[in-house]
């Protein structure tokens, strides 16, 4: 097996992903940790591109980097004392041992199961169209797709309720005395 530029790109992207993840865990400054998370998510997007899944790569960046991580960053900024660089408490040893254990087990499983796999059939040219059709085809993934939107609606309403600080006065005060 000869090395191709793809191998180099794969190595780089893996480095971003894994290195970013390690950075998230080890960094004591939460903003830095968030930035490492962004790096890691970028690496995953790169891996998607290598897998010929540009749609997933773009969505990965749009959703995880462009939306979720931005919110994480803002949350970190507005919750802790904004400018101080005080580290959060942590218990590293136990976690490291657990993580190593899980990694070895999963690594073994993945190496034995997927080690010798050859790539599947070529990615069809219209894979994005197929994906789109699968989402709206009742014979495919219509139900989970629609349920996901209900999940988001529920989460949205709940989050607004939990987070907003100006519930109408009378409702906050009365509690249950609607019979009185």
């Amino acid at each position: 097996m000869s090395l191709t530029p793809l191998h180099a790109i794969f190595a780089l992207m893996s480095l971003f992903t894994v290195g970013g993840a390690v950075g998230v865990v080890l960094n004591r400054n939460l903003i830095y940790a968030a930035m490492y998370l962004v790096l890691s998510l970028f690496g995953i997007a790169g891996l998607f591109i290598l897998l010929e899944a540009p749609f997933l790569a773009a969505v990965q960046i749009l959703v995880y980097v462009g939306a979720i991580s931005v919110l994480i960053t803002i949350t970190v900024m507005v919750t802790r004392c904004v400018f101080c660089k005080e580290p959060p408490p942590r218990q590293l040893t136990l976690v490291a041992v657990m993580a190593a254990l899980v990694m070895v087990t999963l690594g073994f499983v993945i190496m034995t199961r997927f080690g010798g796999l050859t790539p599947a059939a070529d990615v069809p040219a219209d894979s994005i169209e197929q994906l789109g059709v699968a989402f709206v085809n009742p014979q495919a993934y219509l139900v989970p797709f629609e349920v996901a939107s209900i999940l988001l609606l529920g989460a949205l309403i709940g989050a607004i309720f939990i987070a907003r600080d100006d519930l109408p006065r009378d409702e906050e005060a009365v509690g249950g005395d609607d019979h009185a």
Binding site: P54, V59, I61, V65, G66, V70, T73, V82, K85, I128
Partner: protein, 342 residues
């Protein structure tokens, strides 16, 4: 030479051209803005450096180069330095998927004018614009200054809010062209531009790109009067220039994208095939300049939004409107009432 090397050289040359074009474009967009806004305000504008002030941008650049680079003591050194770069990168790379011409032939070598015509081009654009916010928010945080911080947070909230409407507005041309590739969308407008078929989407998109680039009337993140220039208050010299540059490059980039999505891109009813295909970039250039001039006009005309009004406008007007537009478009296409140019 192997195909792969040719491909690499081809891509590298085009990438360099795009970047050089954007940087030069930035320089002269500032000139355009200053001259044009001066006219709108019955002034003359910069006219001393070179004929019609054409050398003014170079003078400015020189000045900024030699300015002292100051960093606040409490600033986070790494992120403070990184933030201007992080802001510029999305502005530089977003044009990668926009074709600026058709097939041309150069010394017998056939190539397309455009870096990469990927099949998820539109999604790429939305994704790259969505990460543009990092530079701003990080600059605000790293400066250790509450005005900068406020500016950064405002920018983030604003960009996130308007991104949604932007994405939904883009859906309309995507559905009309039945493709997410920019060249397919441009090809679908050979006979009629989407700005006529999708006026609501076009207007919403234009408003949201103003917000995404922090242009007036959405320039709250850098509101001079309330936030002393917002997230880049603490920046000086070339780092400040990078922010400035990023903003103008973003203006150019989004103008190009707007042209591609709604104004037929480099096409002008067959005219683009003149000069062996080299007319295409010229047509696109004219469209971009028109769009930039429009932005300057808006800046000279409209006062800045109040912050809560800005948010309310984004969430309560633009978002429902763009959503409704997307739904109506989809239904009309499925019912074959308006044609899909697939």
């Amino acid at each position: 030479m192997s195909d792969f090397v040719i491909f690499l050289i081809d891509a590298a040359v085009k990438a360099v051209l795009i970047i050089v074009g954007l940087v030069l474009g930035f320089a002269y967009t500032t000139w355009l803005e200053r001259r044009f806004i001066a006219r709108l305000q019955s002034r003359v504008g910069p006219n001393r450096a070179g004929p019609a002030g054409l050398l003014q941008p170079w003078a400015d650049a020189l000045k900024l180069f030699f300015k002292e680079d100051i960093m606040p003591t409490d600033a986070d050194r790494i992120i403070y330095t990184l933030a201007p770069a992080v802001t510029s990168v999305p502005a530089l790379i977003v044009l990668g998927v926009v074709p600026f011409g058709g097939q041309i032939s150069l010394f017998g070598y056939q190539t397309t004018l455009g870096l990469a015509d990927i099949n998820v081009g539109v999604l790429y654009i939305v994704a790259v614009t969505s990460i543009a916010v990092y530079g701003v928010v990080l600059a605000g945080w790293a400066s250790s200054n509450k005005y900068a911080m406020m500016g950064g947070l405002r920018a983030t909230a604003q960009m996130i809010s308007y991104e949604l409407a932007m994405g939904l507005a883009i859906l309309a041309p995507v559905m009309m062209a039945a493709s997410m590739s920019m060249s397919d969308i441009i090809d679908a407008q050979q006979n009629i531009w989407f700005v006529f078929l999708q006026p609501i989407a076009a207007v919403i998109f234009y408003i949201t790109i103003l917000a995404e680039t922090n242009r007036s009337p959405f320039d709250l993140p850098e509101a001079e009067q309330e936030l002393v220039a917002g997230y880049h208050t603490e920046y000086s010299g070339m780092k400040f220039a990078s922010f400035f540059m990023a903003e103008y490059m973003k203006m150019i980039a989004v103008s190009a994208i707007f042209s591609a999505l709604f104004l037929g891109g480099y096409r002008f009813f067959g005219l683009e095939n003149l000069l062996g295909g080299w007319m295409g970039p010229i047509i696109l250039f004219v469209k971009i300049v028109a769009s930039l001039a429009f932005m300057v006009w808006i800046r000279a005309t409209l006062p800045r939004f109040r912050y809560d009004k800005l948010m309310a406008f984004g969430w309560k007007v633009l978002l429902p409107l763009s959503l409704a537009n997307a739904v109506v478009t989809a239904v009309l296409i499925v019912l074959d009432i308006i044609p899909s140019f697939a």
